[in-house]
């Protein structure tokens, strides 16, 4: 086998003119294609995509914020309503207790008044009874005593004396009893 160099292997490393020409033409065409068309196109696509993704993220953030705000508002309203409700409940409770206590005082007052009236009427009746009883008992006792004593109590004077003493004794007895 002969050395390759003897077959003109060196030619491999010597550029031919037409080869240089075509290589340059091809490189220029491809370079223009990549620089002017292909890469700018994809760059714009990449930019657009990242812009869109950023816009999407921003929009999502905004939506999140508005949702947060709505939630906060709702929660505020809810807590406000809760406070209102508890206030109303407290008011109602104090009102009720006030009404109850009012009613109680009024009832007690009426009861006391009724009791006092009753007391008074009882007393007056007692008084009356006492007066009438005094009259009755006096005449009854005088009659009874007249019957028992007979003649002994002829004169008016003695009769009256005895009668008074008798009533005093009775009153004393009643008071003690």
């Amino acid at each position: 086998m002969e050395p390759l160099a003897a077959n003109g292997g060196i030619k491999l490393f010597i550029p031919e003119t037409y080869d240089i020409v075509w290589s340059l033409i091809i490189l220029v065409i491809l370079g223009c294609f990549f620089y002017k068309f292909f890469l700018p196109k994809f760059q714009s696509i990449f930019d657009e995509r990242s812009a869109k993704i950023e816009g999407g993220i921003k929009k999502a953030k905004e939506a999140q914020e508005s949702a947060d705000q709505a939630k906060k508002k709702y929660e505020d309203q809810l807590s406000q309503a809760r406070v209102d409700a508890s206030k109303i409940r407290d008011d109602a409770r104090s009102e009720a207790s006030r009404i109850i206590s009012d009613a109680r005082t009024r009832a007690e007052g009426e009861a006391a008044q009724i009791t006092a009236t009753a007391q008074r009427s009882i007393e007056s009746q007692q008084q009356q009874a006492m007066v009438s009883l005094k009259g009755d008992v006096g005449s009854l006792a005088a009659a009874l005593a007249g019957k028992i004593l007979g003649a002994k109590l002829e004169d008016e004077d003695t009769q009256s004396k005895v009668l008074d003493q008798l009533i005093d004794d009775m009153a004393e007895k009643t008071h003690e009893g």
């Binding site: 050395p3 292997g9 490393f13």
Partner: protein, 75 residues
Amino acid sequence: MDIITLAEVTGSISVLGYGLAAVGPGIGLGIVVGKTLESMARQPEMASKLQTVMFIGLALIEVLGLLGFVSLFVV
């Protein structure tokens, strides 16, 4: 063949030369790749960086072997 000639090589000696030229870069490539693997095993987080540097080193060593290949055609 002369009577004095004790041994003779037929064919292209350039091929032998290329074989010899391939030995050094072969060893060198082995060392580079081995060391890179070792480093990657130690620091996996550096792997991509190491790989890039490894390829650069491989390329620089490879050209030595290819010079032998070229001399097969030229000389």
